[in-house]
Structures are given as structure tokens and as C-alpha cells.
Symmetry: D2
């Protein structure tokens, strides 16, 4: 075992599973100080809930003692076992994600409803405007198929990402896409805004990609209120009315803000040459909450 | 009869029917000095060949003489009649064109194959680059459904417009669209380029909108050769290879030229507001042949 | 004298000088039945007021009588002459306009303040959306250097065009550009809107290109009110707030309307090849007043 | 000292300084096993060469022995000291980079010649097309002010980035920008292509942003030859001829490839509202070398 490549995290006496989630997003070998006999089961349940079934658990018990034991399990096998309180779990990835997590994943690599995805190039611009730092807590409101949340997670590798989506079918797609990319530190929040935002930690960054049709003004205001001072909110819209709403909110709040219109055309083969296929223009508005 | 609104043309001793064609494009009352007993029939045949069946013929014979006669015919009734050599024909429009001839006709007013039309806004830009003068002879090569040729005809009201198209179904559409708009001084040339260009008069303006796939280089060169000194050639393409070909031709010929890319987005209703629907970008290249 | 090319108009017993103005816009030889001894002076004054000093007046007096007289004058020489009440004036263009009147005149052919001109390609789109008919009365509000009004005049050849502009320096530029292009049936209205619109005839078409900063809502509403039923109003703006105002006005009025965004890039020479130079995007909104 | 936050690297018996460079790009505390009495000096020289003068060196000698010694130096003070062969160096960042390294850094945060920078949004698209993985070796050819190379370095955090630039003034700007952002695992190569590429390790990714004017075809071909199988090459150009060259190279090589045109407009304040300011369109071509 290449121990120098093992990322270790601790669950000792705390309920925070985010360090574990981040670790399995970016590492193939993760060592967990579990802190108790239930430790391996807790880990297995977390992994199961995230669809992270590409990991094997190697449980080390009573290490260094005469009755030390090393056993290997799939995440499904752990539940019916019992463990010594002194244990350490090594998570070993046995299957790479179908889609390696990174920036600029092709649209067709994400499971999505046709046409309803933030296109690769526009996503890139939105991400660049979001100005994500490693440790940021990020909300993606109206997350759709999760493409933005997932690539944000690649940047916020020490942070937490919440993908909020009210449609059941879409929130299922986000889960699928998390599984496919291994972006396990994205948490899917299936619920209505602004109510479902209440329980989330205040964000450093908010991305609003959709779900603004009905009570959009309320959602924008609530997100703006919850955003940490110094934070940034990026809204991505194709609707003139949402653009208007968003610009006037930022103006009213006195936030520094700007907007870009992104017009992408992609090449398509035609008669042995290429022509340009235009994507619909998108407005990307970025507001900075004063410190 | 409001004689001051009658546009008069003469067919006396000449074969040139263009003055007649221009007259019926722009006037509801056209008086023709026919110059012979066959005159009324010749006129009726011309009108029939252009689908200009919205005109009635009023034939005045032996005017001022005792046996003067005034008879009214549809264009279909003229053929079996016989006329006195001294006659004058008054053409009277009895039905307005379905689509009034002008600049900026809506795409859906033209009969066309879905997607295969120079879009209204792009057409406007192409026309503005073509720099048409009233008396110009204009070729529209690869005329498609004829929308450019027809609006060119509105500008070249004292000129001649040739819409060249090799596909039978398209050339039929052009004829239909001429009928609908009453742009009778557009002549449809159904044939292969460059061969079919041979018999046409040298143009002051050439518009190339399509049909450049195969032997495009040859067609462009032949059109450039035939263009009158001081003339202008506008090429409209979505293909990178055609753009390249066209720019390098103009460069090689030493013509002054420029290019614009036109990117239009049209509003579409969405959720009680509007979003933008992008049309594919088009390149419009204009070259000026030195005097 | 090629009499068949003479366009004749009559000023007999009426004050309407528009037929004269249209005639000198499109014809090099214009015959005027003046109807009185002051006729030649009235004509000379009209021409002077429009800067149409490229015409010579040939005055025919008492034609067919023994004391018939034919005299030739510049427009400056007429004032101090006296004429027989029976006279006919032939206007003869002795210098062509510097810039031939047509569609798609190059930006640099218009005298304008740098950057403050509706760019050639955008102008073409705006004109195509305006859907001008020959006989239309057209208002161009916030006319700037007059480029749109002038090219509208090319299309509304039997109509009347009013170019409204509140800035003195700009209204002077419009006059210059009318002189340069010979679009004499454009009338410059130097004044504040909406007050100065009161005396104008109701329009068939309204183009709003500028001057909407301050009391824009009022101007738009007044223009909409005055527009003839079945008429069309086209607003061209770069400001998001004007776009918003305009869309909501049309919505409130219940007019059918649409919008296009026009993004033009022009080629520029670079390193022996070409690159694209983007013009700023413009929104063109068109509203149709119900009949 | 929070030892759990110390990133340790080893220079023992090897000349590879990249692990050290990556460590100081991403960590504030870096422990180095130097492997020799010259170790601290070697480290100080490396840091000096990269302008990484925001680090303090804490040298631990003979740790655990009676004559153990802990001394602190600035990078300028180390050269004249002598050290025990058994030493360990702790690098401690005492000043954060002026510009935190991340994706989407504002254009004005980079020192650059006006207009000569890959604009933030276009940079984002180019990066998303480049599909960078953590461990990639990346060439940035014609690096300009280094903005792309620097943000690539943020993504290739376990890789090596080479910013190649032939103009002295520009390569100096890249150095400055590396200092400002702390992207120390970007190596500036000041030299002429393709010659200067010879000594570089084969790349997984090549970005070509400029410097293609003269012998562009040669450079593109050489870069394509050196690219590892399965690698990706992204060319970003505004020149039609470079676009053409690049498309035909990829076609000739039989590489899968695509192109996007990126047209960004940025909001600008005007009259209390916003208008759109267009950036010039850019072509981004991506080619995939077969495995």
C-alpha cells in the first residue's frame, strides 16, 4: 500500500462528514479515524447515501495488538458486521468515476434533459465570474442537472456545495451526475426555495441558474441576505425580466455588480467544411456583497 | 380613369420587355404602345409567363377613328382574339399582390423550405452591402426561394434582376414568390452555373447566396470576370471554406473588399417575459471590382 | 431636352411643397407648374431652404405666345427678377449629389460625430423592421446625423420624412447630410419632444433611434398615441432600461411586438489576414399598432 | 506550529524541483527534506529565481541532537550561511500573494499591455476546452502576459506549466504575474519557437494563444508532434488565416476537433442604466490527438 498517497481524515467525536466527502472526491485512498465501533457502518451509510459504491472498505481493528484484524468489505456488507471500537477504515477506490471530475466536462457526459443544461462554455464563464476559492461554501440554486454545482465542487475542494432543486426528476439527475463524476461533496437539496435554504450554512458564493420563474424576487433577496459579507452572487439567465430584476436588486442593495452577455457558436460539419451553430445568448450577472 | 397615374411604356419595334415588366412591378395602371396586331397577345403571353394574372387588359383599337373599339380581357382570353394593328393596351391591376413588394418582408411571407431562407435581418444587411442603384443589372446566384432577388428588385426598379437556381423545386418557389410579391422584373434562370450565366447581360451587382458547394471557385471566378468594372459582388456564406475561398479570390484579384459577420437573435416569449433565440451567424463579404 | 425624362409637378393653388421636394430627390429634370408670378421665387426659396443649390432654374414665360421668353437662373439670382404670371419652371440638376441616395450608404459618407451614428448594418436591419411603404409619413425621433431618416426617404419616395433632433449641432449635421445625398423630402425638426411633435402630421411609421434618455417614457407614449392605426414603431436602443421601457409599453398597449438583438462584427486587416472587430450589440424593437 | 497543515516535499538526491514549486503555489507552510548541506541555499535560489520572496526559511539542523539548531532567514540571507548536512527547511509564507490564485482573475489584476490579454471570459472558455487534469504537463505557446498559463497552473496543481514567449518585455510580465499570484509552478521560457520547445518535456495539453504570425504552421505542427497521444491542443485565435491553418492541420492529421466562436459583451454604465460593450469575437479550436 502506497501510504504516502493515503489521505487521512478523522470522524472522532464529531458529526461533520464533509472532510470525508471531500477526501473521497479527490483521493483514491482515504484513511478514516472513525472513533467508535459504529464507525465503519457510519462510513458505509454515508457512502451509500452518496452513491459512492466504487469504494471498498478495509477495516483495521485493534492494530498493533495481538488480536489485530484486517477485513475487507463492500459498502453493502458492512451493516451486518460488528467491529472493535478501536478501528481505522481505509477506503479504496476500486472503480474510477465514469467521468473524471474537472473543469469543462462535455455536456453529453452529464445526464440531462435535452436543452436543459448550462452549456459547457457558458458554464465556464459563469464559474470564472463566481470567483470560487478552495474553502468556499457554495449554493447552486435551481441546479438543474447539477453541472455547475459539480464543477464548482472541483474548485471548492475544501468547501461545501449545495445543489438546490425543486423538481424530483432533476434532483435525481444531480445524484446520478454526482455518482458519475465522484463529486461527493455536493449535497443535493430537494425542496422549494426560499424555505429549504433555511437549514443551509451561509454561503460565500451563490450561483442562480434557474428556478426563478415564480417567486424569483423573493429567492434572490433571501439569497442576497444570507450571502456572507464579501461574498459573491452570480445569476445566469436568458429571460429579460430576470435580468432586469437582478440588476435592479443589486442596484437597490448598493452592491457593485456587472453583467456579461455570452454568445457562443459551435462548429458543425457541413459539406466538408464547417459552419457555426449559435447557442442562445445568456446573461451572466455578478454582484459583490460589501464587507 | 385617372390617366395621370398611368405609367406608359412602348413595345414599338423592339423586343425588350423589361420596361413592361418594371412597369407592372410598380404600377397598377400601365399603358402599352404595342406596335402591331400581335401586341395584345405578346403582352398577355409575357404576363402569363410571369404569373401576372392579376392584370386585366383593356385594348383600345383605332382610337379617334370612327370604328374605334374598346374591349376588356383577362390574360387568358386574349390569345383567341384578333386586333387592329393600331392598338393601345391598358393593363389594370385587379388584385393586389398577396405580399406588397418592399424591403424587409417577413420570412414566413415567402414560400420556402424550412430553414433555407436568407433571414429577414441578414437579408437586410446583405442588401445594404450590395449597394444597389435604381438602374442596376443584378445577378442573384443560388437564389434559393428568391427573397434576396425580390427585395433587390424593389431597389433596382429601373434595372433587371436574374435569380439563378439549379434546383427545379427551388426555381418553382422563386416563381411563386415573384407572383406573390409582384416583383415581375425578376427573371428566374433555372440551370447550372457557370454555364447558364453565359447568356445573361453583364451585371453591375452580383449576390451569391448559395450553390457554392461543388464548383464554387469556378462560379465565383466567372461571376467576378463578368462583373462590370466598378461593380460590386456580395457573398453571403455560413461555410468557413467558402469564406476563405472568397477572401482569397478578392485578395488575388486585388479587389478592395471587406467582410462582416452578422449575428442576430430574435426575441421569443418565455414565462411571461422574453428570451433571445440566436440565428446562426453569417458572413457577408463584399468585393469592389476596380474601374 | 429629353422631355420624357422630365418629372412634372404642380404648385398651382396649393401650399403643399412635398411633391416638389420628392421630385428633386429622385429626378434630375423637374418641371413645375407654378401658378403665379411669384412661382419661380417660391421655388427658389424652397430649394435654398433645403440647400438644394445644385439646381438651375429655367423659367419659361408666356409659352406659345409671341412674347414668350426662356431665361436661366441660379437659385440665388431669381429673387430680384420679376416674372409673367403664366410661367413654367424647369429645374435642372447641374451637379450630382456628393453621395448618391440609396440603401446602405457607408458610415463615413455621412457627416457625423465619431461613434454617434446608427451603423450601416444596424441601420439596414432597423429599416427592414420598419417596413416602409412608398407613400408613408415617417418620423425619425432623435435623428442624430440623419442617416436613418435619409435612407428611409429613399424608401418612402412618395412620402414625407421628419427628422426630429433637439441638439442644434446635430440638426445642422442632418441638413448637411440631406444636401450631400439630395434627400430633400426629409424635413429637419429642431426642437424638444414631445412638444415639437404636435404640429407634425400623424405618422405611418416611427423610428426612435435616440433622445430617449430623459423623458423617454413620455416621448414613446406620445409617439405611440399619434401613430396611425396599423402603423409600426421601431425603437433602436443600446440601453437595457430603454429596452425594458419599450417592451413594457408595447405589452401594456397590447400591441403585437418583437425584438431582435443585432451583433455585427466587421473585418479588419491584421498581419496579412483579417480579424473581426465587434460593434456593440443593439436591440431593435418593433411594435405594431392594431387597426 | 500547525504541523498538520505543513505540506512536506523531498529534494533528497534528486534535481526535480517541481514538487517544491507546486507546494509553494498552494501551501503556506512547506517542509522540505533537503538532503545536504547546500539544501537551504538551493531552496533559496529556487525561490529567488521565481520571485517567491514572500517566504521565510526556518532551517532545522541536527534535530533531536544536542547541538540542534533552529534559525530563521529571509531568502536573501541564506546564501552566506553554512548549514549542517542534516537539515530540514520549513518555508513559511509571510505575505499572501497580491492576487489569490484561482479561476477567473479579473483582467486588470494581471500586469499586461492594454488590449493584449486573453479576456477573463474567453480565458474561461479556453480553459474549459483544454480539459486540464491535475497532473498534466501543459505548454502555453505565445503566453503573452501569462494569464492562461497561470490559471492553467491552478488546475494542473500536480503538473508542470510552461509559458513560452519570445518577447522579452512580455516574458518579464509573465514573471511579474507569477509573483503576484504565487503560481510558482509556471516556468517561463523566453525564446523562439519551435527551437525553444526542444528541451521541454512532452505535453499533455498545449494551449496556443499567440505568436503564430510568422512561422505559425511550423509551430503548430511541432506542437502537434510533441503532444502526447490522447492529449489535447487548444488554439485561440482572432485571425481568419490562423483559424484556417489550424482547422486544416487537424483535418490533415485526422484528429477529432471542434471549434467555438466566443462573443462576449460586457455591461457598461450609461445614463443610469447599462449598455453592452462588445469584446471582439475569438475562435477557440480544440484538437484531440488519437491514442
Amino acid at each position: 500500500l502506497p501510504w504516502e498517497r493515503v489521505k487521512t481524515v478523522s470522524l472522532h467525536g464529531r458529526r461533520d462528514i464533509w472532510p470525508l466527502l471531500r477526501a473521497i472526491s479527490f483521493h483514491d485512498l482515504v484513511g478514516v479515524y472513525t472513533g467508535g465501533e459504529d464507525g465503519p457502518k457510519v462510513i458505509a451509510r454515508v457512502l451509500k447515501s452518496k452513491g459512492a459504491n466504487s469504494f471498498q472498505l478495509i477495516v483495521f481493528e485493534n492494530l498493533g495488538y495481538r488480536d489485530q484484524r484486517i477485513r475487507e468489505f463492500s459498502i453493502d456488507e458492512v451493516e451486518e458486521q460488528s467491529f472493535h471500537p478501536l478501528n481505522f477504515v481505509l477506503l479504496k477506490r476500486i472503480r474510477l468515476p465514469i467521468v473524471p471530475l474537472r473543469l469543462g466536462i462535455d455536456d453529453e457526459k452529464y445526464i440531462h434533459k435535452a436543452g436543459l443544461i448550462t452549456k459547457r462554455e457558458v458554464r465556464a464563464v459563469a464559474l470564472s465570474r463566481l470567483d470560487v476559492f478552495d474553502t468556499n461554501t457554495v449554493w447552486d440554486l435551481g441546479a438543474g442537472c447539477g453541472s455547475v454545482a459539480i464543477e464548482v465542487a472541483y474548485l471548492a475542494r475544501e468547501g461545501m456545495v449545495f445543489a438546490v432543486e425543486r423538481q424530483k426528476s432533476r434532483s435525481m439527475m444531480i445524484r446520478k451526475n454526482i455518482e458519475r463524476t465522484g463529486a461527493f461533496h455536493v449535497e443535493v437539496i430537494h425542496g422549494f426555495m426560499p424555505e429549504c435554504l433555511e437549514s443551509l450554512p451561509d454561503p460565500d458564493r451563490v450561483f442562480v441558474g434557474g428556478g426563478l420563474s415564480g417567486n424569483s424576487a423573493t429567492v434572490l433577496e433571501e439569497a442576497a441576505r444570507r450571502l456572507k459579507p464579501g461574498g459573491r452572487m452570480v445569476v445566469h439567465t436568458v429571460l429579460m425580466s430576470s435580468l432586469e430584476k437582478c440588476l435592479s436588486l443589486f442596484q437597490r442593495l448598493g452592491w457593485q455588480h456587472d453583467m456579461v452577455q455570452v454568445q457562443i457558436s459551435r462548429s458543425a460539419a457541413l459539406l466538408g467544411s464547417v459552419r457555426l451553430d449559435a447557442l442562445n445568448p445568456v446573461f451572466v450577472i455578478a454582484g459583490h456583497k460589501p464587507i
